[in-house]
Amino acid sequence: MKKTLFDKIWEQHVVDTVDGGRNIIYIDKHFIHEVTSPQAFAGLEKRGVPLFRKEKILATADHNVPTLNQHLPIVDPLSRTQVNTLIKNCEKFGVELYGLGHQYQGIVHVIGPELGITRPGMTIVCGDSHTSTHGAFGSIAFGIGTSQVEQVMTTQCLLLQKPKRMRITIDGELQNGVLSKDIILYILSKLTASGGTGYFIEYAGSTIRSLSMEARMTICNMSIEMGARGGLIAPDEKTFNYIKGRKFAPQGEQFDKAVTFWKTLFTDEDAQFEREYNFKAEDITPMVTYGTNPGMGIKITEAIPEAIDPNNTKSYDKSLKYMNFKTGNSLIGQKINFVFIGSCTNSRIEDLRLVADFVKGKSKASNTTVWIVPGSKQVQLQAQEEGLDKVFEAAGFELREPGCSACLGMNEDKIPKGEYCISTSNRNFEGRQGQGARTILASPLMAAATAVTGKIVDVRELL
């Protein structure tokens, strides 16, 4: 039978099938962080069961850490306790931890790939919905709740209903100034915030193939914003070259063997998907969101549309009221005081290079506060090595230390009430970046353009 890439990896990880159809799925790699793991460790102790496979777990501190003065003790007592609880748990259970100050610390979905831990054909989970990021390598990667974190800790397995399969194919050449972030915001605007619920998505087509690994990660990262459990892309030479030589990647002969296996990971011709979509790269422009879910996006040249369902506008009305926007208006010219470049969606070295290239010789507008939060210590060091930090400094942008930061506003990095923030992150939910904060999602280039003009512009006009 013809199989999809997803089917192949899934079937390779089925330990057993339970009455009613659920599968016991073996998990190859489990990432944990300070926010969704303490209750799972506590659960283990309460049951009196050991950690089953500690070598398959890797911990980092990212969600609830400051992005300034990371060498000093954390000021907020609750955050300090949470991060210290992770340290204590990792010591007690023998889990490898890349905590604050460690050369490999960073956002969990940035460090996995950059260390060569994330590889094709694997099953990867983490108590974080953006675990879908790792799918860019041709792995089945998805977010789980804390009870499931505990399940994986106790048995290295999860009990799962197999999701349905969807394929989104994008062909053609992207316009100048259009990034992979725009591709995924465009797809989201077509499928809505619930269009992928119940599915696992494979992204395919010539446009996807043309993207770098980091750009692919941005796309897979936001699969969850459509409600999909995850998204994946078949591995190719770009994938193999990206992994080669990384810290935990297979070396020498092992690497060659791995590539031979990885080359079997593709969707067979004529394999069946329950749902398929096709888009043209030429139709995609820089995108911005206008509402309070990531599906509420428009092309930068478009006006805010009417509610999808004219008989049920309650959620739409609430959303526009929160954002203080009106149907029919354009976002071009909207004054913006805060710019956030970071998060597991767009905080990698290529994102920072793009921003630095754009702002070189320019400076931020007088009204904007610009935070650049690198995805990891490695990204931060690389940026410094390449002199990007000097470019940012000259432009008046603040390069901070790694963490999730203003993407979810768990630490001090919050946007004030009523203020707009153009953000390269993944969610524009009410209050996500701070109580009353108004988030507009966009690409790193659109964010950089806003930073220097102080308002929303079509970045293509500045290139």
């Binding site: 969704t36 969600h63 499931q148 048995t155 619920t197 409600g227 791995a258 609430k318 979810l408």
Partner: protein, 196 residues
């Protein structure tokens, strides 16, 4: 996990769509290291102003004190934080009804004895209407026969639930008990697995 079989209570209607887990429990309340106490901050920013004075929101209206939350489609989207399920349960909810749920939230709810019931949108509207007409109108959820009934009108639908998860809820079992019982198979699988 507590056992769940049957519940007869009024409902709390929340006719909004795409309610994300950041609304259910904002990130700034995720700093706790235990599972308890999240109910106080359930829908925090919809319930309270920044100065902690109450807003005009359904949970601040004492008439609505039922254990069934009824919400618009795509309930629980966004972050995987299980704290959302803990907050709903801690507040007192035992059932959430919607025309469909985000996958991760649904799984989290089931793992915590909070029953997510997916109903057709017509029936969801019936639930909203019946509560609007009479906030004291009772709804009966019977997990054994997989049926949810608006008692005044006798309107009902039968709902789907994975038979394994149903067994877990009725007996108060969780997945870990089951998976631990499969350790032998898991170890056998590992022996044959080649990972690159």
């Amino acid at each position: 996990m507590e056992k769940f079989t049957k519940i007869n209570t009024t409902v709390v209607p929340l006719p909004m769509e795409d309610i994300d887990t950041d609304q259910i429990i904002p990130a700034r309340f995720l700093k706790a290291t235990t599972r308890e106490g999240f109910g106080d901050n359930l829908f925090r920013d919809w319930r309270y102003n920044q100065d902690n004075t109450p807003k005009d929101f359904i949970l601040n209206n004492k008439i609505y004190n039922g254990k069934i939350l009824v919400a618009g489609k795509n309930f629980g989207c966004g972050s995987s934080r299980e704290h959302a399920a803990w907050a709903l349960y801690d507040y007192g909810f035992r059932v959430v009804v919607s025309s469909f749920f985000a996958d991760i939230f649904k799984g989290n709810a089931l793992n915590n004895g909070l029953l997510p019931i997916t109903v057709p949108s017509d029936f969801l509207n019936d639930l909203f209407l019946s509560s609007e007409q009479d906030p004291n109108s009772d709804v009966l959820v019977d997990l054994e026969v997989q049926k949810i009934t608006i008692l005044d009108s006798r309107k009902f639908v039968e709902f789907d639930i994975d038979p394994y998860k149903k067994m877990c809820l009725i007996n108060g079992y969780d997945d870990i008990d089951y998976l631990i019982s499969k350790k032998g198979k898991i170890e056998a699988f590992e022996k044959n697995q080649v990972i690159f």
